[in-house]
Amino acid sequence: MAEIRLHNLAHSYSRAPNGAADYAIREMNHVWAQGGAYALLGPSGCGKSTLLNIISGLLSPSHGEVQFDGKVVNQLHPEQRNIAQVFQFPVVYDTMTVFDNLAFPLRNQGMAEAKILAKVHEIAEVLELHPLLHKKARNLTADEKQKVSMGRGLVRDDVSAILFDEPLTVIDPHLKWKLRRKLKQIHEQFNITMVYVTHDQLEASTFADKIAVMYGGQIVQFGTPRELFERPSHTFVGYFIGSPGMNLIEVTACDGGVRFADTVLPLSPALNRRIAELPGKSLKVGIRPEFVHVWDGPNEDALCGEVVHLEDLGTYKILTLKLDGQLLKVRLQEDQPVPQQQVYLSFPAQWLMLYADDYLLESAEVLP
């Protein structure tokens, strides 16, 4: 059990990296606190697995330090780091039985057989592997094999952390949900730091207390699922989290606010001052489809858009509309009236986010 700290960490697969594009992990500082359940969320190729392999020691980073409880572990091999990792595709030792597979990591650390027996049965109970314990691992189905792989990680309860690299990819959907619950229970029971890599936001938010969103080799935001939803600190988070993602509109600064085409969006004086300090940055406003306010009829505060398309998803509807040349998506509740042709809408100030070069502008933030 340990707190994992990444200090100025960067990694490039090329021996002589040339600029930022050659880095799979761009310089980052991050802390995974002891006992947390974390998700590392991001699209394929954003560096999630690289980061995980650096933490476990399978990869050695090009720059920076990995610290476990303040101790630098860069030079330690995975064997010495006492860490468990579950891979995307099941890895079982074919010639062993399920029992021997689960006992394998314990035997390697020289635990007494009686204790091994108890531990293996405990984990087999949790993962419902009991009926299979004496079956040869090679005869299992893909999801049984993955359960065994996970079991080998979970059976060691003294580990610094357990890392999961998209472990449920090969699992049936209904079983996925069950196994995620199981992991959560195990986490609560043993209080081990867990880092769970996934590209599925639903998986991330059901498993984790806090989610780190990775994009282009960097962690662009680290927060609770709610924070990611309500205050995305990077346009990528806005776009990646939520369904559909955040509406993003490119804007330019103008007197008293920002504008696109003929539409002017007024901003608070504090934000206006911030914008004035940042000339030459590309500005975007973002608002989630859930937070766009739709009026029943014309209103003096409302902007007027044209309805383009309506999708009924059963419990809610997605309305696509055009506002001054920009396509926007709005989420309508089932009982809300559906506008025909013309739609009157406004952007509540508390949900309107302003981004400069893709990062959220905080009006109170002190300039770097």
Binding site: L58, E79, Q85, V91, Y93, F104, P105, N108, R152, G153
Partner: protein
């Protein structure tokens, strides 16, 4: 009504003819010889299983059969572990790996009788590098007169000639193991021996099956190399089965017993190969 279309059988005909001429007809000729005593064109007698009885009771054949089994067992016991060992030590990338592959392939490309000649000269006490050096070092070595020396030389020659095959097969098998198995083993803190025992060896099983079968069949039928090297001597010490058979068939022109013996020989190889195959694939089916 079901339409019968037997024209398709004609398409099988070429294969049927090929197999008939390459295997069935020659084999039936041997069967034919093995049950008759033939003196000339028109004088022949049907003798039933007499030749088989004679062959099975022949002590000369018993001796060479025993010698043959010991030889093949030695070949497998040396070449299979050595081949695996070499494959494990081979570099996996870079210029070195290509170089090692080429060096390993060289013995496999040399014709059998040349291999025999190479070792015959190499082992000679007067002009051969190995024979001369050993004698100079005070080790009495003469493969032409000493039974033990003859055996050791024949075995080393086979190891030199064929271990590469096992090594190359294992090398290809090892390269096919995904990296994630090694990563998982490191995470599980497996020792190098455990990685070999539980990952590499099980994953090598199918290539090892091929290696064992090929090396068994080839060594069990070995003829040219010991014939060139020792001529079967000293005495009959390195006279293996196929050499005994040749002596019988061509030297003494005993076609009847030779034919009976050939069939027995064939059945032994078939039986042992089947045993190997069954034993090595059996584990897959047990639960």
């Amino acid at each position: 009504m079901k339409v019968q279309n037997n024209k398709a059988w004609w398409l099988v005909l070429p294969v049927f003819l090929l197999v008939a001429f390459s295997a069935i007809v020659p084999m039936m000729t041997v069967v034919n010889y093995s049950v008759q005593d033939i003196f000339d064109h028109s004088t022949r007698y049907f003798v039933g299983v007499d030749w088989y009885k004679q062959v099975l009771l022949d002590t000369r054949l018993h001796d060479s059969l025993l010698r043959q089994f010991i030889y093949s067992a030695c070949v497998l016991l040396i070449e299979i572990p050595l081949g695996i060992g070499i494959a494990l030590c081979m570099p996996t990338k870079g210029r070195w790996s290509s170089l090692v592959l080429i060096v390993l392939a060289i013995p496999l490309l040399i014709p059998w009788n040349v291999v025999g000649t190479i070792w015959q000269i190499f082992g000679r006490a007067d002009i051969g590098l190995m024979g001369w050096s050993l004698n100079e070092l005070g080790i009495a070595y003469n493969y032409a007169s000493n039974t033990r020396d003859a055996w050791v030389t024949v075995l080393i020659m086979d190891v030199w000639h064929w271990t590469s095959l096992v090594a190359l097969l294992c090398y290809s098998g090892l390269r096919a193991i995904p990296d994630v198995y090694y990563q998982a083993a490191r995470i599980d803190r497996a020792s190098a021996w455990a990685v070999f025992r539980h990952i590499q060896l099980p994953k090598l099983k199918s290539v090892l099956l091929i290696a064992v079968m090929l090396r068994f069949m080839d060594s069990f039928m070995i003829y040219t190399e010991p014939f060139v090297l020792t001529g079967g001597g000293p005495g009959n010490a390195t006279t293996f089965l196929s050499q005994t058979l040749t002596q019988m068939a061509i030297g003494q022109f005993d076609l009847g017993p030779a034919a009976a013996f050939s069939l027995v020989y064939f059945l032994i190889i078939l039986l042992v190969s089947w045993l190997f195959y069954t034993a090595m694939t059996h584990a897959d089916k047990t639960r």
